[in-house]
Symmetry: C2
């Protein structure tokens, strides 16, 4: 299915991941596995109120407990106005700093207000319980509608609505607003033969990574600090912690541990600055590990949303107009991915007239963080449900309708630039051909279909490749390996140098060893950091050419690289070709060790499209539904390690199915989360799901030397709509609010008179 | 005193070392500080005989003890014929492998014959005691004279004497022989007005590093292994262990811990291959830490020697002829630094006629290892004692005599090549000018003077320098930091980039992160690895020029680097200069992160010369002597961090004084070492020594961009003779055997009728 004739030796193979044995045998060290001599344990005092002014904090009783070595409050981490550059944007460190320890107000149930370090976790927790905080409880704002009502309680009195072309106004709970438009929507709708408009709601949901946030910080008497932490962004932890604490980032070294999942939720800092300040105060290393309850209450889930979409089509299926109104909860601070949602919501289709507006709304819930294709799944839930309904209204095959309107190379994306070679058509065609789509549906089941879009990202990456005199190689980058990127990087080095992939040693480096590298996120590691790895390996190849030239006493222009060998050309034609191993063995004699390196800021990325098919069986007496068959089709550009690509596609689908069917933050009237644990927050487990079938489509991304696109995020975009469309097909009822949990489905069926 | 006008900003300053606080507060992790979950402890069974055939080993009783997880013997590490390239030479891994666990014969008291891993150190030791080894005891060879006698017991029946121009013959205990000659010694001596000939003896002595050998090895089920170890050569440990075990070095990662001294003794492997095999067998991590007794008995001290030197001079002091015959103990296997001794012994002087012969002799003592300027101190003891006697005979000032014959630029070294710019004359003149030399001597004291030579080494080094967007930098290399090289490397980066030295973060990398780098040894790290650091920093500078050119939209030829700033030239002359910090902040927007790297094989080095002055007070009733004043003068080329240069000069002098006055391996008749502990092996402690005065002479080494020479080794060369010459001055007795311990001095004085 590849559009490129290029052949590979290693790329596309499936070696056992280099870090695999350590992980399955328990040898790999995760955040909580770091232990240092004299280490203290930290515990956090958290607000029991969703919205409250902090009147006073009395730490005296806690501080005098035996074994307690430090107690801190917001006073120990003064508010900052610093910002941290990251990719194209910037992290507002004021909010991140206030989120990790409240200064004036507690803005959600679970908001940290103080922290303790003690010689044991038990003592630390007991001391935390003895910190007395006096609150002035304020009314909580718990929904978008509450937040934007004219008489809303305001979370941040100084907040004004910002956005391009938006006149700042406040006080308000709407942090920002953006609009995208093309053509004249009103005229477009006037030309439509069918118009469907619906409003959709999704709850706040959590990434649900297995490993909780955990770190150890050690502050030295010389002001130099080391932080071991489970993170997607060691440089964010370094620079963010330094800026929040007002110290020089050059004095902090961050050593990323193995990471047990992140999905965007482990990019920012929650514990590290607190652990650093506790360590500085106690003059001892401090470990902090969140409980699952804390992970749910006080880290970043993704936004609950309200999205209204209206789409008009001609009777032949041609889409002519659309409007979309997106309202995303940022949680306690601005930061909802509403802008990304706006950019994604119509990105699959050629629509000549549209108006999209997106709003970032603060509410008294945890500050949201990135979650896999942030903002796009909820937007796609709305758009793809409406498209499904248009297909039903027109009596068209849903794939046919999408193919008719699918964006192709040269079309402008709704957010501006023209698409290069993209794979939506190929993905839709592959889905249509798939046995799943071709198979009949049992009578008690429904079939849903939806597609999805994600930008993918490039950003800054550095890589170093060293070649040993025995012809083996090592590669290291600054990206923690979440989805198998070490194996992918080893494959790239193997491909470029002809070194067996088992003899390439991939490493995740710390912030003092790696060149600056942006986060493991944005589906960028295999893609952009991979580009740096390839370039670093090619740097090695160029050096090998020069070494061969030296051995042959000829000009480097007389040496060619051919499939792992140095081959003489022209004036050197009488020489015998040398293998990489032979030249590597002579490295010392020809100038010294061979080390390649590359650093890039990859500005662009190849967008990703995916399409999912879901067969759902619904028990109409209980409302319980079961996914009986599921297929994910995706354009990955080029699958470097197909098993891990398939794993990403399956993992994204599984998370999206959970979001669609069961997951939701449940809050009581006072704003306390009622289901902050895996027993009550219902994520899908292996027994809930069928084997998810995958189809890899490879439409080469021309920006990347192998054609790679990011793969990790887009698979979570279609499932919400795919499952909801299957539910519509199975039950005849159009559900517009997630999750499609048994009570909601049962209520929906009863309301429909079923 | 510099011969170069070059001015520096950071080089020559004395910042606090970056790793200092961690070391003085106990946070730094040394070899024994590594602990892993499920870790076992190893213990070694050692031969109680100096020379014995191993008849059988019964491990059954040990293996069945509760808590014992693995027992190994030489059968688990088959003999290898592999060799390991290192610098110009090669390590014979057969001998290293047989030395770390005996296969057929135990060749010294303490030779390992089996090893055990158990859940506690106590169990491991008890199990080791229960390994039953049947020996056929053989007569031990304990002195050079025994070894070379016609009816000597032969240690290695297959051994023949090797050497350039030597017809291999055997069986023998003389492993190799070399000769250096110039002119016609006989005719030279015939022209001499005075000829002095003496034979000198020095005992085996140990480096006495504070930290014993220690490592943890973890063998994974996937065949990938990690070794944490205190070593001067992480790549030697990796490649040597792999070759000895017959596995692929690409499967081993070596992480060097902090190192508590090495002095050459931590280059080879003793524990690591055993720990790897135990870990493989037990499927658990294994820690092995030597006791001090084991360090003395079973690691590598330096050779005991017998050196006969004859020098002839004209009455005006002109040296006209010399012969030197060097016999060095290699211990149980070949490897004595007799060749280096031969090359060094006359290297300070222009002598038109000489013949030097050097022999490497095996005896039933521990296999020797490198020790700070290996081979040179014992040779200098002989030569400089004879030179002192010639000066006395001629009534010449000893410095005057040396100045008259001192080698200068353009003179040929005894081992062949012509010297470039060297500092012996400048050193001698500085010593003559020094207040110590000018001061009168109290009547009960004597003053000695001697000088010394060391080659210094270059070899392979790699370095990476990363520049952060905040204008701070990091530098890493593969050399464990023994003498402050992290601080020196940070100074070099600071010098090249204008980044404050405190904002440069120096790191010691592991074997997967660092480009191949030869050992920390040969006085090469600050010199050769420093050259790689400087080149890597200049690589960063070139990238900064290119980034500035991009910002100014001009050609890079229009951008100059001037003292930390990017300055516009020619066509770009209208632009405002940018600081490094400004350009670094724009790295992401101008192409990505900035990482510089360099790898070099530095073939040559600038030789080092030093001269020491010692005032010794001798208690003629007890033979006890006290160093009351000591001055070390040395040409260091360029002192990067003068405090650490002075520290090296003082440390080398202190070790040499210990060697001269008290240190020696004492063996009983059966070949058992009788003083294998710091209570009985008498090393100097702080209270034994005066503050050692230092004079840094800087004759720039033209090979190095700053003029740096290696500094760490040559200061141990003069002390043996310096102290002995002081003893002669104080007592009138010429001692030719070390150490000058009270019993020997007393016996010498009594024999002289004093």
């Amino acid at each position: 299915m590849s559009t490129e004739a290029k052949t590979f030796t290693y790329i596309g193979t499936r070696p056992i991941r280099h870090d695999g044995a350590d992980k399955v045998t328990g040898r790999a060290n995760y955040g909580a596995d770091i232990n240092l001599p004299g280490m203290l344990h930290g515990a956090i005092v958290r607000s029991p109120h969703a919205h409250a002014r902090i009147v006073s904090i009395d730490t005296a009783e806690a501080a005098k407990m035996e074994g307690v070595k430090a107690v801190i409050t917001g006073d120990d981490l003064p508010e900052t106005s610093a910002k941290l550059a990251m990719g194209e944007g910037a992290l507002d460190l004021h909010d991140i700093g206030d989120n990790l320890i409240a200064h004036k107000k507690a803005l959600y149930h679970g908001h940290a207000v103080a922290a303790v370090a003690a010689t044991s976790l038990e003592i630390a927790r007991e001391a935390a319980a003895r910190v007395r905080v006096e609150y002035e409880v304020l009314p909580p704002v718990l929904t978008i509608d509450q937040a934007i009502s004219p008489d809303a309680t305001i979370l941040h009195p100084e907040m004004v609505t910002r956005g391009r072309g938006v006149a700042p106004s406040g006080p308000t709970n709407v942090a920002s607003r953006m609009e995208l438009r093309r053509g004249e929507p009103d005229r477009g709708f006037a030309e439509a033969d069918v118009v469907v408009e619906r409003e959709f709601h999704t709850p706040m949901v959590h990434q649900g990574y297995i490993e909780p946030h955990a770190c150890v910080a050690r502050w030295g008497q010389d002001g130099r600090a080391v932080v071991w932490t489970t993170t997607q962004g060691p440089f964010v932890v370094r620079d963010g912690s330094a800026a929040i604490l007002g110290i020089d980032a050059a004095m902090i070294k961050v050593i990323p541990t193995e990471i047990g999942g992140g999905f965007g939720g482990k990019i920012t800092v929650y514990l590290e600055p607190l652990a650093l300040v506790l360590s500085r105060k106690a003059n001892r290393p401090v470990k902090m590990v969140m409980t699952r309850d804390e992970v749910f209450r006080a880290t970043g889930p993704t936004s609950g949303t309200k999205v209204r979409v209206k789409i008009g089509a001609k009777s032949d299926g041609t889409l002519v107009a659309a409007t979309a109104s997106l309202w995303y909860e940022g949680g306690a601070y601005p930061g909802a991915p509403s802008g990304a949602g706006a950019m994604c919501c119509l990105a699959c289709y050629r629509i000549p007239n549209f108006l999209i507006e997106a709003n970032d709304v603060v509410v008294n819930k945890p500050k949201v963080a990135a979650y896999r294709a942030p903002g796009s799944p909820m937007a796609a839930f709305a758009t793809e449900s409406v498209i499904d309904e248009i297909a039903r209204t027109l009596g068209m095959d849903p794939i046919e309708l999408r193919l008719k309107n699918a964006v192709v190379e040269g079309d402008a994306a709704p957010y501006g630039p023209k698409y290069g070679p993209i794979g939506l058509q190929a993905v839709l065609e592959a889905a249509r051909r798939h046995p799943h789509w071709q198979s009949p549906i049992a009578s008690n089941r429904g079939r849903g279909f939806a597609c999805g879009f994600w930008f993918n990202a490039g950003m800054n990456s550095s890589a170093t490749v060293t070649l040993d005199s025995d012809g083996s190689a090592a590669v290291f980058t600054g990206n923690p390996d979440i989805g198998g990127t070490r194996a992918a990087q080893a494959l790239m080095v193997a491909e470029e140098l002809g070194v067996p992939v088992e003899r390439v040693r991939p490493t995740v480096a710390d912030t003092d060893a790696a060149g600056y590298t942006d986060v493991t996120g944005g589906s960028r590691v295999c893609y952009a950091t991979g580009m740096a790895v390839i370039e670093a390996a090619r740097d090695v190849r160029e050096q090998l050419r020069a070494r061969a030239a030296k051995i042959w006493n000829t000009d480097v222009s007389n040496v060619a690289w051919e499939a792992g060998r140095l081959v003489p050309l022209n004036g050197a034609g009488d020489k015998t070709p040398l293998t990489l191993v032979e030249v590597a063995a002579k490295a010392s004699a020809t100038g010294g060790p061979i080390v390649g390196r590359a650093s890039l800021n990859v500005a662009a990325a190849g967008p990703a499209f995916s399409a999912h098919i879901c067969d759902l069986e619904v028990d109409k007496e209980t409302g319980r539904s079961t996914v009986v068959r599921y297929t994910a089709v995706q354009d990955v550009g080029r699958a470097v390690h197909p098993s891990f690509v398939e794993g990403q596609m399956q993992g994204g689908a599984a998370q999206g199915i959970g979001w669609a069917l069961n997951e939701e933050y449940v809050f009581d009237a006072a704003g306390a989360m009622e289901n902050a644990g895996f027993l009550d927050y219902r994520m899908p487990v292996a027994s809930d799901l069928p084997m998810i079938d995958t189809v890899i489509v490879e439409v080469a991304n021309p920006i990347h030397p192998y054609g790679v696109r990011g793969v990790g995020e887009v698979p979570i975009v279609p499932p919400l709509a795919t499952v909801a469309n299957a539910m519509r097909d199975a039950t005849g009822v159009r559900f517009t609010e997630l999750p499609l949990s048994p009570p909601r489905v049962l209520a929906g069926l009863m309301a429909a008179g079923d």
